[in-house]
Symmetry: C2
Subunit: 239 residues, 2 copies
Amino acid sequence: MGTTQLEAVQEPKYWHLKSVLSDALDSEFAVGEILPNERDLAARFGVARATLRQALDQLELEGRLQRRRGVGTTVAPPRIGVPVGSGSHAWPDEQELWEPVGVTREAAPASIARMLGTDRSAHVHTVRRVRARHGQTVAAQLMYVPAASVPGLGDAPAAPEAVLAELGRLDLAGQDRTVELGSARAEDARELDRLPGAPVLVVTTRYTVEDRTVAVSVDTYRADTCRLTFSDDGSVIAS
Amino acid sequence: MGTTQLEAVQEPKYWHLKSVLSDALDSEFAVGEILPNERDLAARFGVARATLRQALDQLELEGRLQRRRGVGTTVAPPRIGVPVGSGSHAWPDEQELWEPVGVTREAAPASIARMLGTDRSAHVHTVRRVRARHGQTVAAQLMYVPAASVPGLGDAPAAPEAVLAELGRLDLAGQDRTVELGSARAEDARELDRLPGAPVLVVTTRYTVEDRTVAVSVDTYRADTCRLTFSDDGSVIAS
C-alpha cells in the first residue's frame, strides 16, 4: 500500500492517462480527427472527467490536441516551424514577413517605455501587424516606435507603412530577443483564433542603433501550432 | 441583455478577474508573499472557485504567480533572463553552463533518431545535465550523442565528462535551435522542482559538422521563472 501511494504521488493519475491517450492518438486516430466527447472518453478509460481533462490539458500543451469552440477536440497536425531569425537579420528581411493591420499613437505600457527609455506618458507609434504561415495566422505583433526614432514623420499620426518605411531608414546595429511563455490578450486571441488566456510564446525584440533602443516589438505566437526556429545563418530550417 | 451576453462570450469572466487580481498583486502584495487561500479569494472577489482558479492559471502562465506544493500560491519575482546563446557560440562556451548528472546508453526516442539520422534501435550516449542560474535549477538537458560522433570512445559505456570531452574535439560548423511549448516529463519535473506536466519551454538544438548532425540536445526550461534571451553577439542581456 505504501509503495502504491508513493508512486501515486510521484506520477499523478492524469500523467499515466496522458501516456495511454498519447499512444491511442498514434495508433487509432488521424490528424484532424475529432475525439469522442469527454464523457465517453472518461468512461472508456475508467477515469473521472476531472482526471481526463487534466490529461487533455497536457496533450494540448504539447501540441498533440487542439480544442476549438464549436468543433471539439481534434488531433493536431505537427507544429509549424516558424523562423524567428538570427542576429544577421536586418530590417528588410523582417519587414516582409508581417502584414500591417493598423496603427495607434498612444502611451506605451510601462514595461515598454522602460525598454525604450521614453517618458511613461510620451506617445509612441504602435504598429499592429500579423504574420501568416502556410495560410494560417501564427502571430500578432505590436511594434512600438517612439517619435524620436522617426523624426521625418513629426508628431502627427501616420499610416503603418509610413512609420515602418521611416524606421527602415535607420542603420540597424543589433537586435536582442527574449522568448517567454504568456497568455493571449483578448485582441491577440481574436487575431490568432484562440480564446483569451490561451498559452502563447511571446517574443520581445529590442532593435538598437548605436546602443540606443529605437524600437521594441512584442510578437505573440500561437504556442499550440508553432515551434520557433533559430539558426546560425538566418536560413529557414525545415521543421 | 443580448449585449451583456455577447460581451461575456468575448471576454470570459475569469479574464476580467485576472486583470483585477493583477492590479491587486501590484498594489497590495510583495514578491514572495503568500496569497489567501482560494476560498477566501473567491469570496473576496465574489466569484465561483472554478472562475478564480482559471484566473490564477492565467497569472501563473504569465509568471506573476507561483504555486508550490506545501507552500501555496505566492507572488512571483520577475522572470530570470537565461541566455540561450546565438549562432556564434561554439562548444566550449556552451559546455560550461551545464553540470553533468548522469549518462545512459540506450535507443533514442524516434523523433531524435530521425534528427540524428541513426537507426531507430541504435544506442546513443545520452548525457543528462542541469543548468543553474542565481542558485536555482532552471533547466534539465538530455544531450544525445551517437557513437559515430565520438569514435574515440568505442561502443562501451563512458562517463558523461568523457562523452562531452570527445564531442568537444569536433569542429562545430553550426547549430540550429527550435523553441516550443511543452509539458515537463516526470524526470525533468523532479529536477526542476515542478509537478509533472507543468508548462516548460523546450529548446531543441541540432549540432552540425559538415551538414552532418553530430548531436542533438533537448533542454527543458522552467517556463514560470525563465525568459530565454537571444542576442547578436552572444553577450548576456540584462533581463
